[in-house]
C-alpha cells in the first residue's frame, strides 16, 4: 500500500473517531445536565406529541428562523436542503446496492451541490454586508462557511469536470468502513475534497455545528407546558422544608 494511502487511512480514522466520540461526548453532556426549571417558551405545546410536532417544524422548516428573518431563512434552508441531498448522494460510495427511494433524490441530484454552494455563498455575502451580522461575526464564522464552500466546490468539480473513478473511490471508502484498507484514488481533487471533509469532521464537535444535535436539548423548545399539573423537580435544589421563614401567626398587630 502506498504511503499516501496509509496516511489517509490514519487521517480518516482519526477524523471519524474525533467526530463520533466528540459528538457523542457533547450530546451526553447536554443530556445529563439538569434542567432545573420549566422554561418552555410559550405558547408551548401542552403534551408530548405536541412538543414532537414543534420540534419537527423547527428541524424540518426552521419555523422560528422563518419568523425572524426570511432572507436568512431562504438561504439557510436552501443550503441545508442541498447538503441533505448531497449527503444522500454519497450513499453510493458506501453501499453496493441503492434502495429504490434513492431514485427520487436523483432528480435533484444534479443540483444538490449547486444549491448547497449557492446557499452558502449567499449566507457568506449576507454575513458580510448586513451591518448587524457583520458586527457579531467572528473569523471562525467566515472560515466555516469557506470550508463548506470549498467542500461543495471540490465535490462539484469532481462530479462534473475531473471525473474520478467511482469504483476506486467506492473501494477505498468501503475499505475504511469495513476495516479492510484499500489503496486510495490519487486524483488531486479527490484528495483535496476528502481532506477538507475530514477536517470538517474533526472541527465539528468543537464548533457551533453542534447546533445540529443541540437543538433537541433546547429547553425553551423541548419542554411541555405543564408546570402547574406536573411536579417538576430540581435535582440539586434544597427541599422547601429546610428553609426557615417567619410565621404569619406570630406577627403582632
Amino acid at each position: 500500500m502506498s504511503g499516501l494511502s496509509v496516511f489517509f487511512l490514519i487521517y480518516a480514522y482519526v477524523a471519524l473517531a474525533v467526530f463520533i466520540i466528540g459528538f457523542l461526548v457533547r450530546i451526553w453532556k447536554y443530556a445529563v445536565t439538569p434542567a432545573p426549571l420549566k422554561i418552555p417558551q410559550t405558547p408551548a405545546p401542552v403534551s408530548g406529541p405536541g412538543v414532537l410536532g414543534r420540534m419537527i417544524l423547527e428541524v424540518g422548516i426552521f419555523k422560528s428562523l422563518l419568523k425572524g428573518n426570511r432572507i436568512t431563512w431562504l438561504f439557510g434552508y436552501v443550503f441545508h436542503l442541498g447538503l441533505l441531498f448531497a449527503l444522500v448522494k454519497h450513499y453510493r460510495f458506501f453501499f453496493e446496492t441503492s434502495p429504490g427511494w434513492l431514485a427520487y433524490f436523483t432528480t435533484f441530484e444534479m443540483y444538490a451541490g449547486l444549491i448547497m454552494l449557492g446557499g452558502l455563498t449567499m449566507l457568506f455575502v449576507l454575513r458580510l454586508i448586513v451591518d448587524r451580522t457583520a458586527f457579531i461575526s467572528v473569523m471562525n464564522d467566515y472560515i466555516l462557511l469557506l470550508l463548506l464552500m470549498a467542500i461543495a466546490s471540490t465535490g462539484l468539480l469532481l462530479k462534473h469536470y475531473f471525473r474520478t473513478n467511482v469504483t476506486s473511490v467506492k473501494e477505498f471508502m468501503m475499505g475504511v468502513v469495513t476495516f479492510n484498507p484499500q489503496d486510495m484514488p490519487t486524483e488531486a481533487f479527490f484528495i483535496i475534497h476528502i481532506s477538507l471533509v475530514f477536517l470538517l469532521l474533526i472541527y465539528f464537535p468543537f464548533s457551533k455545528l453542534m447546533h445540529s444535535g443541540g437543538i433537541f436539548f433546547s429547553s425553551t423548545r423541548n419542554q411541555i407546558d405543564n408546570a402547574r399539573d406536573k411536579y417538576w423537580k430540581t435535582p440539586w435544589a434544597k427541599s422547601p422544608e429546610s428553609i426557615d421563614i417567619p410565621s404569619n401567626m406570630t406577627q403582632d398587630d
Binding site: 457533547r26 453532556k29 447536554y30 445536565t33 434542567a35 432545573p36 420549566k38 422554561i39 417558551q41 410559550t42 405558547p43 408551548a44 401542552v46 423547527e58 426552521f62 422560528s64 428562523l65 425572524g68 428573518n69 436568512t72 431563512w73 454575513r127 448586513v130 451591518d131 448587524r132 451580522t133 458586527f135 457579531i136 467572528v138 471562525n140 464564522d141 472560515i143 468543537f206 457551533k208 453542534m210 447546533h211 443541540g214 437543538i215 436539548f217 433546547s218 429547553s219 425553551t220 407546558d225 408546570a227 402547574r228 406536573k230 411536579y231 417538576w232 423537580k233 440539586w236 435544589a237 434544597k238 422547601p240 428553609i243 421563614i245 417567619p246 410565621s247 404569619n248 406577627q251 398587630d253
Partner: protein
C-alpha cells in the same frame, strides 16, 4: 467610557469596582432623559456601537451584599471566582450549557430586542449580549476558544469586559423576545440571569434589585411594608371603596381557613394605578361571594430572585407563600396582576416550593396557582358576575401583552390562553377595543422596557429607550383609532409606563390594569 468623563476624574483614584460599575461617573438626572423620536414605524436603526456603554446601575451597598451571602465588593481574584462560578452554572443549567454552544450567529435575533431598537447600540442585540458571556465560556471552557482565541470569539475575562457585562446585562429585561425568533430557541434571558449571578458572586450586585430582595426576606414585600402598615393601608382602601360605591367591599388579611389566598404584587396595595386593580379583584371576590384573604407575610407576588439568576434567593422568597398556605389553609391559590410574578408562580412555584397539591391542602380541581384573570373569566362565563360596559365608555382600550405572561407562562387550558383571557376581560368590560400591530403583540410583544430589574431611575435612559417600540405601536393606534387606555396585567409594566409614557408626550392617566376596568364595570349589589 467617554474620554471626557475619564479626564474629569483624572485625579481621583478609581478602584477596579468603581471602573466596572461606573460608580464615580455622573448619573443622568431623570429630567434630562430624552425619549427617542417616534417616526411612525418601528425601524431597524443604524448601528452606533457602544453608545449605551456608559449606562450602569448603582452598585449594591456592601451590607446588602453581605446579607445576601455575597462578597461585599469586587473580590481581588474575581476572574478566578467568576470562571469557577460559570463552570458550576454550566453543570447546573442545561439551558446555559446548550445555549453557549449552539448559537450559529445567524442574526435572526439581532433586530428583535427593544433595547437595541431604542438605543441603536449593537451591543444590545441579543446575540451580542449573549456573546459577552460566550466569550468567557469559549476562552475558559472550550477547546476551540483555547486554540483559536479571538478568531473563535473567545476573550480573556478582564476588567474592560466585566465593565461591559455590568452595562449590558443590565440593559436586558429578560423578556425572551429574542428566543421566539431564534432557530434554536436560545433564550438570552437565561444568559443574562447567569451573568448577573456571576457578578453577584464576585461582589458586584445591582443596588435596586438586591435591596429589594433583602427587604422581601426581612419584611415580606418589595415595598418594605410591615404587617401593621399593610393592614392600615388596606383598611383605608376599604373605606375609600365604601365611600365611592356605597358597598362594604372587604380586603381581608390573614384570615385562617378562607377559601382563597390571594398573592399579589405589593405595589397593588398603594401605588397608582396599581391599587385600582386591587380594588377590582376585591370587588370580583365580593360579588362572587368568595371567602378570600391576603397574607401579611406573603404580601408579595413579585420575586426578584429570578432577575439575578439566583435560585436560592428565588426559592427563599417564594417560601413565604408556601408558609402562608400551610398556616392560612386556603383551598385555592390566586395570583394578582404581575408579569414576572406570574411566570414564577405558574412555571416555578410547583418546583421550588411544591409540590403544590393536596399535601399542602390545596384543592386539586383548581389550577394551582390560578391567575386572577382566569378566575374572573370563569366567573363571567358562568354568569356569576355582571359587567356594565358603559361604565368604561370614556375608554378606548388596547392591551399590552406582558412579556413574562406572554412568553413564559399560560392562562387557561389551551396554549395562548394568556393572550385571549385578558383580552376577553377587557372586551367584556368595555364597548370598544383596538388591537395594536400584529408584530408587537401576543408572542411577539415588546417589553415595556422596565422588566428584569431595570425599574430604577439611574438607568431611566435604558428604560425609555426600551419602551420605544411599545410606545410607537401605542402612538399609532392612538392616532388611527383614538385609543386612550393601555391595559396592563403587570405591576412593573404599570410602574414603568407611568414613568416613561410622559417622556413620549402621552398623559399617564392612560395606563391601567385590566382589573381596573373590571372594577369600574362590575355591578355590585344583590344578585337576582
Amino acid at each position: 467610557m467617554a474620554d471626557t468623563a475619564a479626564e474629569q476624574h483624572e485625579e481621583e483614584v478609581l478602584t477596579d469596582q468603581d471602573i466596572v460599575t461606573g460608580a464615580k461617573e455622573p448619573k443622568p438626572k431623570a429630567g434630562d432623559v430624552k425619549a427617542p423620536e417616534l417616526t411612525g414605524r418601528i425601524e431597524i436603526p443604524k448601528l452606533e456601537e457602544g453608545v449605551m456603554g456608559w449606562s450602569k446601575p448603582h452598585a449594591a451597598k456592601p451590607d446588602t451584599m453581605e446579607e445576601m451571602g455575597f462578597p461585599p465588593g469586587l473580590v481581588d481574584n474575581w476572574e478566578e471566582v467568576a470562571v469557577k462560578k460559570l463552570g458550576e452554572l454550566l453543570e447546573k443549567y442545561k439551558s446555559l450549557q446548550v445555549y453557549m454552544d449552539i448559537c450559529v450567529r445567524c442574526g435572526s435575533c439581532t433586530d428583535k430586542c427593544q433595547f437595541f431598537l431604542g438605543s441603536r447600540d449593537p451591543r444590545n442585540m441579543p446575540v451580542a449580549r449573549a456573546d459577552l458571556l460566550r466569550k468567557v465560556y469559549k476562552r475558559y471552557f472550550t477547546t476551540e476558544g483555547k486554540l483559536f482565541g479571538k478568531l473563535a470569539g473567545a476573550a480573556k475575562f478582564d476588567l474592560a469586559l466585566l465593565g461591559e457585562w455590568y452595562s449590558y446585562f443590565h440593559q436586558c429585561s429578560q423578556c425572551r423576545r429574542c428566543s421566539v425568533f431564534c432557530p434554536y430557541g436560545i433564550d438570552t434571558a437565561e444568559i443574562s440571569m447567569a451573568a448577573r449571578e456571576i457578578m453577584d458572586q464576585i461582589g458586584i450586585g445591582q443596588k435596586y434589585v438586591n435591596t429589594i430582595i433583602v427587604k422581601l426576606h426581612e419584611i415580606g414585600n418589595n415595598l418594605g411594608m410591615n404587617p401593621k402598615a399593610l393592614k392600615a393601608t388596606l383598611e383605608s382602601t376599604e373605606e375609600d371603596i365604601e365611600e365611592e360605591d356605597g358597598v362594604p367591599v372587604k380586603l381581608p388579611v390573614d384570615k385562617v381557613g378562607a377559601e382563597v389566598l390571594l398573592v399579589t404584587p405589593s405595589a397593588d396595595f398603594f401605588a397608582s394605578p396599581h391599587v385600582e386593580s386591587l380594588i377590582g379583584y376585591a370587588k370580583v371576590f365580593h360579588q362572587a361571594g368568595t371567602d378570600w384573604t391576603l397574607s401579611s407575610t406573603a404580601s408579595e407576588a413579585g420575586n426578584f430572585g429570578m432577575f439575578i439568576g439566583n435560585y436560592d434567593h428565588m426559592q427563599r422568597a417564594a417560601m413565604r407563600i408556601r408558609k402562608a398556605i400551610e398556616e392560612l389553609k386556603p383551598k385555592r391559590l390566586i395570583v394578582g396582576e404581575c408579569g414576572h410574578a406570574w411566570r414564577i408562580a405558574y412555571s416555578f412555584w410547583n418546583t421550588i416550593i411544591g409540590p403544590l397539591d393536596g399535601s399542602v391542602g390545596l384543592k386539586l380541581e383548581y389550577p394551582r396557582p390560578q391567575h386572577i384573570c382566569e378566575f374572573t373569566k370563569d366567573l363571567l362565563d358562568r354568569g356569576a358576575i355582571k359587567l356594565d360596559k358603559s361604565a368604561n365608555d370614556e375608554f378606548v382600550p388596547t392591551f399590552h401583552d406582558s412579556c413574562n405572561v406572554a412568553r413564559a407562562s399560560r392562562m387557561g387550558d389551551l396554549p395562548g390562553g394568556q393572550f385571549e383571557i385578558p383580552r376577553a376581560l377587557i372586551k367584556a368590560a368595555c364597548n370598544r377595543y383596538v388591537e395594536m400591530e400584529e408584530e408587537t403583540i401576543r408572542e411577539k410583544t415588546f417589553c415595556c422596557g422596565g422588566g428584569g430589574g431595570l425599574l430604577s431611575d439611574e438607568i431611566l435612559d435604558v428604560r425609555v429607550q426600551g419602551a420605544m417600540p411599545r410606545m410607537q405601536a401605542y402612538q399609532n393606534v392612538k392616532e388611527s383609532h383614538g385609543v386612550n387606555f393601555l391595559g396592563l396585567i403587570c405591576a412593573i409594566c404599570k410602574a414603568q409606563f407611568t414613568k416613561v409614557v410622559p417622556k413620549y408626550g402621552v398623559p399617564m392617566i392612560e395606563v391601567g390594569g385590566v382589573h381596573q376596568l373590571i372594577g369600574r364595570a362590575i355591578e355590585l349589589g344583590a344578585k337576582e
